[in-house]
């Protein structure tokens, strides 16, 4: 009887200690294994990053990179903006193909329309720029692609489209006072020489009148965030 009592005492006295030690020991072993494997396992939690949408094909990224480098957003080149000739050269695509690059951004962009021979942003155009710009989400680059309709001289239209692009930039600076603007906003002015918009772009969000003809939408600055990581 005494032996039974002693056995009972010993068994029940040691049971919690043995179990606790065994469980903690197992955890210790798993911890050591996890530490050893930590370097080889891929990280399971997603890491915060700019957006990189499905339309950002390698071909598109290549062209975007060229445009951005030539236009001063990537690399060490000072100043900003691409002139029509530069845009045409760096894109190395036809005007239609160049415009096609922007088609996937129809829900992210807008076309700011100007009056003929004018480069002042009309009030409706400002609110469109603000709406598009504040919807940045994960995008890294904001493109302003200004154009002019074919009326008038080529050099005049080149200059006019440049002033239109700069008017958008000035408005952004004044409204948002954002130091990131210099790293995010790319300006292209195409005059009447390259990548004129066709009627397909009339369906886009526009600041102009409801009636839309190609000449109207080329007195414009196309604005859009580009959801691509370069």
């Amino acid at each position: 009887m005494t032996a039974l009592r002693a056995l009972l005492l010993l068994g029940l006295l040691l049971l919690p200690a043995v179990l606790a030690t065994s469980w903690v020991g197992s955890a210790k072993v798993r911890l050591a294994l996890a530490e050893q494997g930590a370097g080889t396992r891929p990280q399971q939690t997603a890491v915060a990053a700019p957006s990189d949408d499905a339309y950002c094909s390698p071909a598109l990224k290549k062209i975007l990179r060229r445009v951005l480098q030539s236009c001063g957003l990537l690399g060490s080149r000072s100043g900003r903006g691409c002139q029509p000739l530069e845009a045409k050269n760096v894109a190395t695509v036809s005007g239609d193909d160049f415009n096609a690059l922007f088609q996937p951004m129809r829900h992210r962009g807008g076309i700011v329309q100007f009056e003929m021979a004018k480069a002042d942003l009309p009030p409706g155009a400002r609110s469109l720029v603000d709406t598009v710009f504040t919807d940045q989400r994960g995008a890294s680059y904001f493109f302003v692609v200004a154009r002019a309709s074919p009326e008038g001289a080529v050099t005049y239209n080149r200059e006019l489209s440049k002033r239109r692009a700069e008017a958008v930039m000035a408005h952004l600076r004044q409204t948002f006072r954002d130091p990131d603007l210099d790293r995010e906003v790319g300006l292209l002015w195409l005059g009447e020489e390259f990548a004129q918009l066709d009627g397909e772009f009339c369906d886009w969000k526009r600041s102009g009148a409801a009636e839309c003809v190609p000449a109207d939408i080329n007195r414009s600055a196309f604005v859009a965030w580009i959801d691509c990581q370069l």
Binding site: P16, A17, A20
Partner: protein, 470 residues
């Protein structure tokens, strides 16, 4: 020596308590490996699997009431471990009382009954804490409470029976004494001894009284026996606790090993004050005001008593795809609107955050049905913010806050805590909070808080080395 039913009740209760407390301790100890584990959450813990994610059992386990000395030992000592010991002791002592034929001993059974009060009282306190403070009940804990109640019931019954039996024995002995004494002409029970009239004992057989005499077979236990039993009870508790503490892995080496902010600056003033304590350790919390884990962290921080040592700010990171492109869906619907309100509130941001924590479920449910509902709820509670919410400026600021996470390559996860730029490991945000945070604060006070690298090869990327200046 066959145990009485009341003694059997204690044994069954103690065995059940040992089982439930054992599973509870097992679940707790699993987490010492710093991984995510399910917990047993059933009245039949051995027959059902574990549950991962939110459950009453998980909430209770993570709550600051599930363990002791959390600041000294990672996770602390789970209270279910001493509970195991107490139930093991009760099981042993109940068996001892039966085997040593002391079921009729008032002192031995009294000690046993007193011992059953301990788990019963602890269970009552813990049940109240779970209901009032934690707001969740765990099935394993309920199992422990019921087991404690069985033990208490058995303890009281076995003690009462022993008292009555001893009373009977005293009465019988008195009668014998009267019979032996010189006759006074009246039977003893007539001459004022009627109160010791023998009472029949219904429970049979009574091991301690095998014959017709109700007197106990063994002598009543003395103070020495009871003192030894008490000391044995202490050893029952101390031994597993000591074994647990001695074998627990060293978690201090992980402090500072989980990275740091690469670009801690806030050029766009998007960080909002949460709980300012000038002079405290500058602490940044990556926060989603509708995230239950953020609310739970807030409560744990308050319970840990460390909040006063932190100068807390929040970088808003709503897990809602309305504004956050890094999540595929609205994990917390309405979080973008509430985050805008927090930014709009400026210095009073903590008021909005506190309200959002209180109303989390209601806001999320309403926003899941109608995406604009969260904005309306905030505007109804804080009308002064209505004009700011949804404005281009605040939307831009919220975007900048999200971009803070991008700039620092932070995990898409809330909450994340950075003390003086050094990350509190995600594994230390719940059970290990008191332990890890108190060490980080101590290192900050001494000026030695820095990003470290684990000695184990490959545990942290080589780029993770280098001091971070507060």
């Amino acid at each position: 020596m066959r145990p009485r039913p009341s003694l059997l009740l204690i044994m069954v209760g103690a065995a059940l308590g040992l089982l439930f407390a054992g599973f509870s301790t097992f679940d707790f100890a699993q987490h010492l490996d710093r991984q995510v584990h399910g917990v047993h959450c059933s009245f039949l813990p051995g027959l059902t699997g574990t549950q991962v994610g939110e459950s009453g059992c998980q909430a209770v386990m993570i709550s600051p009431y599930s363990s002791l000395f959390r600041a000294k030992l990672w996770g602390g000592i789970p209270i279910s471990l001493p509970a195991m010991s107490v139930f093991a002791f009760l099981l042993f002592f109940a068996a001892e009382v039966a085997l040593s034929r002391r079921q009729g001993d008032r002192r031995a059974t009294g000690f046993l009954a007193l011992a059953t009060v301990l788990p019963a009282a602890a269970s009552a306190v813990m049940a109240l804490v779970a209901l009032i403070e934690v707001g969740s009940m765990c099935k394993l804990c309920v199992g422990i409470y019921l087991a404690s109640a069985l033990c208490l019931l058995g303890g009281v019954l076995v003690w009462r029976r022993a008292r009555r039996a001893e009373g009977n024995a005293d009465g019988w002995a008195a009668l014998m004494r009267r019979a032996d004494a010189p006759k006074s002409g009246e039977p003893a029970w007539v001459a004022g001894e009627a109160e010791v009239e023998p009472v029949p004992v219904p429970e049979a057989p009574m091991d301690s009284a095998p014959g017709p005499s109700p007197a106990p077979a063994t002598a009543a236990v003395g103070a020495g026996y009871l003192g030894f039993a008490f000391a044995l009870g202490v050893v029952f508790v101390a031994l597993p606790v000591a074994a647990y503490v001695a074998s627990a892995p060293d978690q201090a080496r992980f402090v500072g090993s989980c990275g740091a902010l690469e670009n801690p600056g806030d050029p766009y003033a998007t960080h909002v004050p949460l709980d300012p304590h000038p002079g405290g350790a500058p602490t940044l919390e990556i926060l989603d005001p509708l995230c239950p884990a953020c609310r739970a962290f807030d409560l744990r921080l308050a319970a840990a008593g460390l909040a006063d040592k932190l100068d807390r700010k929040a970088a808003l990171f709503p897990l809602d795809n309305t504004c956050n492109w890094m999540v595929g869906s609205a994990i917390h619907p309405g979080a973008c609107a509430v985050s805008e309100a927090v930014l709009c509130a400026g210095a009073r941001a903590s008021l909005v955050v506190s309200w959002a924590f209180e109303q989390q479920e209601r806001i999320r449910e309403a926003a899941a049905r109608d995406p604009k509902a969260a904005g309306r709820m905030v505007a109804a509670r804080f009308p002064e913010l209505a004009g700011c919410m949804g404005s281009a400026e605040v939307r831009s600021r919220l975007n900048k806050s999200l971009r803070f996470a991008v700039r620092n390559h932070l995990p898409v996860l809330t909450p994340q805590i950075y003390v003086a730029g050094v990350k509190l490991c995600d594994e230390d945000v719940d059970l290990g909070l008191d332990f890890a945070l108190s060490r980080m604060l101590e290192q900050f006070r001494q000026g030695t808080l820095e990003r470290t690298q684990l000695p184990a090869a490959g545990a942290v990327s080589p780029a993770a080395a280098g001091k971070v200046t507060p």
